[in-house]
Symmetry: C2
Subunit: 279 residues, 2 copies
């Protein structure tokens, strides 16, 4: 089994979502659980929320804490994601995300259109924002990079879904909540697929107030020459300032930027540096 390969021919009917490779998988599941709470969480809350037996959960938490992946506040007796994650994520962001490569292009586009620009990637069927240029105020750091969002009702999400292979697409669709955020939200796989077909034909996606009322956006996928989805790029505005046709006028610039990012990403090779960071 090659790690990266996207197994097409897995049994289509595995009962449990077949997570958890051994102990490490469980530990990471706990880690996710703590992170999902978005606030310090107590042992008993985790215990209630999870299938692990007391003692097991306890040891898992201990291990993660002693490893710095979680931090424990003895006063409040609560766990929170630890700073080691931030350190690790720094590396991840720098070398696995599109952000460093795309930065100059995103900067240019943002300056050009004067609206908010998002750069996103697909992570487990969810949209993961990896960079953002806010028209005015300085970038909100992590509060945006690292944030996840739904794919079924965002421009970047749909732009990426539209160009997925059938296998990964089904997988991603299965992970959508299809939660209705607004009147315009597409709330079924069928409706979404119809839109995806249009997006594929058109080359870019709209979000016409599907996620938040008053917020519209145009998004283009970032694709390798071979057609693999790398990410997506979007320009967001409000119905007050703009409308869909006005956004569409920006499409050429956005598509061009997306293409430029794709080209850079593909030609990118890591310099064969041999120096190690000064630890």
């Amino acid at each position: 089994m090659r790690p990266g390969a996207g197994e097409d021919e897995m049994n289509a009917e595995d009962p449990a979502p077949q997570r958890a490779d051994g102990t490490v998988g469980k530990a990471l599941e706990v880690l996710d659980m703590v992170a999902d709470f978005e606030r310090p969480v107590r042992f008993s809350e985790l215990l209630a929320a999870e299938r692990f037996p007391k003692a097991t959960l306890f040891r898992l938490l201990q291990t993660l804490t002693s490893q710095g992946m979680l931090s424990y506040d003895p006063d409040r007796q609560s766990y929170a994601p630890g700073m080691r994650l931030v350190r690790l994520a720094h590396s991840a962001w720098r070398q696995s995300s599109l952000a460093p490569i795309a930065r100059p292009h995103v900067d240019r586009l943002a300056a050009q259109v004067g609206e908010t620009v998002h750069l996103a990637q697909l992570d487990n069927g969810q949209v993961l924002y990896v960079d953002k240029r806010n028209a005015r105020q300085p970038v909100e750091m992590f509060s945006q990079a690292g944030k996840i969002g739904p794919a079924h009702c965002t421009g970047v999400g749909k732009a990426m879904l539209a160009f997925l292979e059938p296998g990964p697409l089904e997988d991603a669709l299965a992970r959508q909540s299809f939660h209705r955020f607004t009147d315009h939200t597409l709330t079924s796989a069928k409706a979404l697929k119809a839109d995806l077909a249009r997006i594929r034909a058109r080359g870019y996606a709209f979000d016409d107030e599907e996620h938040e009322p008053g917020i519209i956006c145009l998004a283009a996928p970032i694709l390798t020459r071979a057609g693999r989805v790398l990410g997506a790029l979007s320009v967001t505005s409000t119905t007050e300032r703009m409308n869909i046709p006005a956004l569409e006028a920006l499409a050429p610039g956005i598509l061009q930027t997306a293409a430029a990012i794709a080209a850079d990403a593909e030609s990118w090779r890591f310099p064969e540096q041999d120096k190690r960071g000064g630890r």
Copy 2:
């Protein structure tokens, strides 16, 4: 053994640095190793760099990859930190770091002094930058937040070390490389301790070109009322634009900001929200 507690009375002579709780520890060690390379890394490179036997390392990598903690590029046959880390770090940054609480204060200070401002915390004896305000251009995202640096030769590092308890201090000192970056770098624990005493007396630290030539900074610790080190705050400039006395003139503002952050951090309690993110 309470997870968070800083065991004072552990046998002072454990031979190996006693890492690795079980499998999870090993997996995380591999993760760190991959991250430390700061570039995609091949199986054999990791194998050479590490004590794990081939098969073990292989399985560890498989597990981490299938969990999304690493990404694997089949073409180049190389591993890199995965996007799941970015997602997790987002949570960590938001709730475990000082950054969200400190933001308004950091903003204000940055506007006031017109120089680069850093917010840092101590992570395993290293300085971990959690936020940054760049005098001019928009914030460099992760490229700064999540970055680690040496503690022995940076303003924020020394400001934090100076107010550590003897136990944690010794631990942190033992982790310093004491690498000489410039002529001014303090390269021994003895010299550093002398400086820490001055810092403790003075209330703030200088970095007088100890890390980079031409770069000077003034840093203040962020302390709880009880005296526990939460982090540090610094204003950085260049010898071209400023000098040490000029920086010292900014000290009151920096100290005041640090105090304000500490006060906010201490009064901060997480709102007892019960809603969960819309997964």
